[in-house]
Symmetry: C2
Subunit: 237 residues, 2 copies
């Protein structure tokens, strides 16, 4: 496979960065090719704005998604967006490696999602979920989090981790058609020993060694909905 | 009340901006005081990084939350963060006014959350949910979204909107102790007539006129959990 790792951590010596480094090493050793977008190191601009467009379908009024389509067709997307889009489209698997900030991704990575997953290519019209523009690719989160496992289950203080990750797993990755692999979660990272961290890295290595056999998570198929996206009832299927 | 509106839209003529403008006008007319952080107009920097700190507890290794505490105690937070924190701490109600991007907020606003809701003031240690540092304040989302209501319910194609908003409503606003008011949602905005938009603005006005009577959403109380954040079973309460 060709694998893109999108990573965002503001400390290059962090455990989170060590996960990214381990993934590069392990995936190359498995014979894959790997590309990394280290967003902090790149000085990635996360702000979706008019400056992203070298031409305009409508210079008077910015509708971001429409200008994404127009500028893609004109080959006038900002160079940083075009570069990342090229990397994305080459990839068979995209790994998003980040620390949880407010039960979501750091803003710098959210801005990668906002700017790179362009309308007209990654989604648009009825092309979403299993009909999404990135169907055929896989995606996976590799995250670090301060909380412990018992806090992130159904009756835990924060509820289920997958519920908190729903806008990312379902609303973003699955929305574009990507098959979603199980998230690798390194819990309690700021509070654990170096030995415990080494164990977590070894667990991540095993996770990466099982990429072929990991079951992708299925969310929803547009076949279950009619033209206007009302659910097709069981009796009419 | 003193009300802070944090707004993020990259088109100042947008319907989303009109919602913000209406809120300012309506809330002032009600006798409240209002402050606006228009993140695009301010050129807000959303990237949480070492540059946010004028001093360092540990110059060799960045732990963002720890430096938030240290720099707050030393009065050395970056001026843009300190300004927003001051606005936040003065406010009785914070309205987050934004278009849904990927079932979440635009990166520029996520970076307001990441950088302004600092550890040691807004949360930290056991100070979260009903014990959070911002307890006593209220928060509300005012959002625009492309989808229609039937797509954002339990059996709809995207599931319940509140499930998608959970990391924001529960994981962010309620986490800091703020009481969460019902979200005002303007659906299907890019596709509707000017008349329909005017109706939506009128609905938003009515929503704002009922602020006193809107029921806040309750999420979770730390009283339901023991010292180690395991649930206290019903029999031992």
């Amino acid at each position: 496979m060709h694998i893109l790792i999108v990573q965002a951590h503001n400390e290059s010596q962090s455990f989170n960065a060590a996960m990214k480094n381990l993934a590069v090493q392990e995936l190359l050793a498995q014979g894959h090719s790997v590309e990394v977008s280290d967003l902090y190191a790149m000085g990635w601009n996360p702000i979706a704005s008019a400056a992203d467009f070298g031409s305009r379908a409508n210079p008077e009024y910015l509708i971001y998604a429409l200008e994404q389509r127009h500028n893609h067709s004109q080959n006038t997307l900002a160079p940083d967006i075009q570069d990342e889009l090229d990397k994305l489209l080459k990839a068979d698997l995209v790994i998003f490696n980040f620390p949880i900030y407010w039960f979501s991704m750091p803003a710098i990575m959210k801005g990668w999602i906002d700017r790179v997953l362009i309308s007209g290519v990654c989604y648009g019209g009825k092309r979403f979920y299993d009909q999404g523009g990135l169907a055929g690719k896989k995606a996976m989160l590799a995250i670090t989090i301060g909380g412990q496992p018992h806090m992130l289950v159904k009756d835990g203080v924060h509820g289920e981790l997958n519920d908190m990750l729903k806008p990312i797993l379902r609303g973003t990755l699955a929305y574009t058609g990507m098959a979603v692999l199980p998230t690798f979660v390194a819990y309690h990272v700021p509070y654990i020993s170096l030995e415990a961290r080494a164990n977590l890295l070894e667990q991540y290595r095993q996770h990466l060694r099982s990429l072929d056999t990991l079951q992708t998570v299925t969310f929803v198929s547009l076949n279950e909905f009619d033209e206007k996206l009302h659910p097709v009832s069981a009796t009419t299927i």
